[in-house]
Symmetry: C2
Subunit: 298 residues, 2 copies
């Protein structure tokens, strides 16, 4: 991993929300020398103090207007449900030409929630680094989080080409490979690769949590049989995930429908003792695993 000083694309970067992703961004920007000043905006006093103590930024405030007024790049790193009110607050006070982006896991909703509230001379380009862990908060971040990972940008027909290239270059400087994609398509792909997997992980851990207490201790004890991977996924930030499901509900419900049909078919095969049907499904899924390994995604 390279640490040489890079071209400074943005003098002043403002990060709104200094959790896992926001604080990882701040660390990565510093590590790669990608900005002269980082300003953090967070409603939590504890988070602001941590951001300053950890030297993640030059300034920290709870006022979004104050935070964005000198920014060349503003990155929303808060849960998706907060975008609309933040956009209402900052939409008309940013400098002309400022790039406004985000890191949320749903993209069509960003145009719906943010675009109506911002001035015409602001470049709104939704983004999504496909990276993360199950941990939350400013202390959970780390500077290598985006290194070697994908970042998806979802411009629309109105997006300024130059601004898009600049943001693309910024993510590449952070070590990511950038893909340009239509927002609706992104939401469909992520529904199956991330949102539905998280929902079913949350569900099964919830199902286990509801079991009688005597069984619960054993569930924890023998979790190495497969369950522990689900508990890790289901330990992710609840507010963030609540908002993902609410904001990408159409694509999630569509994929969930397919999943439920497929699960019902397997359940029926188990009840009827149809071993061949089970075997065929279990054999077929191996090809996709090989694809994931070949693509160096695990």
């Amino acid at each position: 991993m390279s640490v040489e000083k890079r071209e400074i694309l943005f003098e002043n970067v403002t990060i709104i929300g200094i959790g896992l992703i926001g604080s990882s961004l701040a660390r990565a920007i510093r590590w790669k020398w990608l900005a002269h000043k980082i300003t953090v905006c967070d409603s939590s006093e504890e988070h602001r103090k941590l951001a300053l103590d950890l030297a993640l930024c030059e300034a920290a405030t709870d006022d979004p207007v104050e935070a964005v007024k000198d920014a060349d790049l503003v990155i929303l790193c808060t849960p998706l449900g907060s975008y609309r009110s933040i956009a209402e607050a900052i939409g008309k006070v940013m400098k002309p030409g400022t790039i406004l982006t985000d890191v949320g896991s749903s993209k069509a909703s960003v145009f719906e929630d943010v675009a109506p509230h911002i001035a015409d001379d602001i470049h709104l380009i939704p983004g999504h680094p496909v990276a993360g862990t199950e941990n939350s908060g400013p202390e959970a971040g780390f500077r290598e989080l985006f290194d070697g990972r994908w970042c998806i940008l979802t411009p629309n027909g109105k997006t300024d080409e130059e601004a898009l290239n600049k943001l693309k270059k910024f993510w590449e400087q952070l070590g990511s490979s950038v893909e340009i994609m239509d927002a609706a398509h992104h939401d469909k792909v992520l529904a199956i690769t991330s949102h539905v997997p998280h929902l079913i992980a949350y569900t099964i851990v919830g199902t286990a949590t509801d079991l009688a207490d005597d069984l619960m201790g054993e569930v924890v004890k023998y979790s190495a049989g497969g369950f522990r991977d689900f508990t890790r996924i289901a330990a992710s930030n609840p507010t963030m995930w609540r908002d993902v499901f609410l904001k990408n509900s159409d694509a999630v419900l569509e994929m969930l429908g397919r999943f439920s049909e497929d699960l019902t078919a397997l359940q029926r095969a188990i009840r009827r003792g149809q071993g061949d049907a089970l075997y065929d499904t279990f054999e077929r899924t191996r090809a996709l695993r090989q694809g994931v390994i070949d693509a160096k995604q695990d």
Copy 2:
């Protein structure tokens, strides 16, 4: 990890089925000097050759009768669906006092499939080391697989105390912590900690596999968002898992019913935009994750 020579509890150990678990057992028995002779029985010529080439055993045969005739301990490491025919073949030819155990993930079915076919002077004690990986075959095994993991033994009212203690000691020598449990209870616990998680992992990877080809490439590409963990689980041996679901169908269907109800409730909450219901579930599951970490299971 200690490698000193241990007390030899069994002169001759026969391993039937030299896949991931069988070959790990052979390696661990050699590593810890726990037997004088290991005999392998496997229907695959390739597996038998590998077992000899990898020095996992002194003798390899495809004839179960030949394999067990001098054994003090016989360990079934084949898929659960093969137990009945193996028991029919070896049930009356083992030496009096031989301990017959297994490593399968369903335990009540072992009494049903094996007990009726074996002589009264054989000690049948079903067992289940809660350990494994998604890989299969003699080359996938490794000697540390059972080290620091749980092994569950499920004797019944007729089990000889001395034989049980000997088998318990054997697993402890392999580095495992042994738990004694009722077979039906084991099957219930494993349904939620292992069987249903595997079934839903297989299901979601199958759902993704059915998507249009253009989406599939992207599913692989962005699998780091959660999906890749499911592909790993769903890469496990299809024959083994087919048999687990057929042999532990009652407990699996019961847990699957609970899971489906819970998933339907979350699906409904998403459709209706009920964020609080989603948040409550996502928040509640964190406690169980902490339990898994505290129990050093991840």
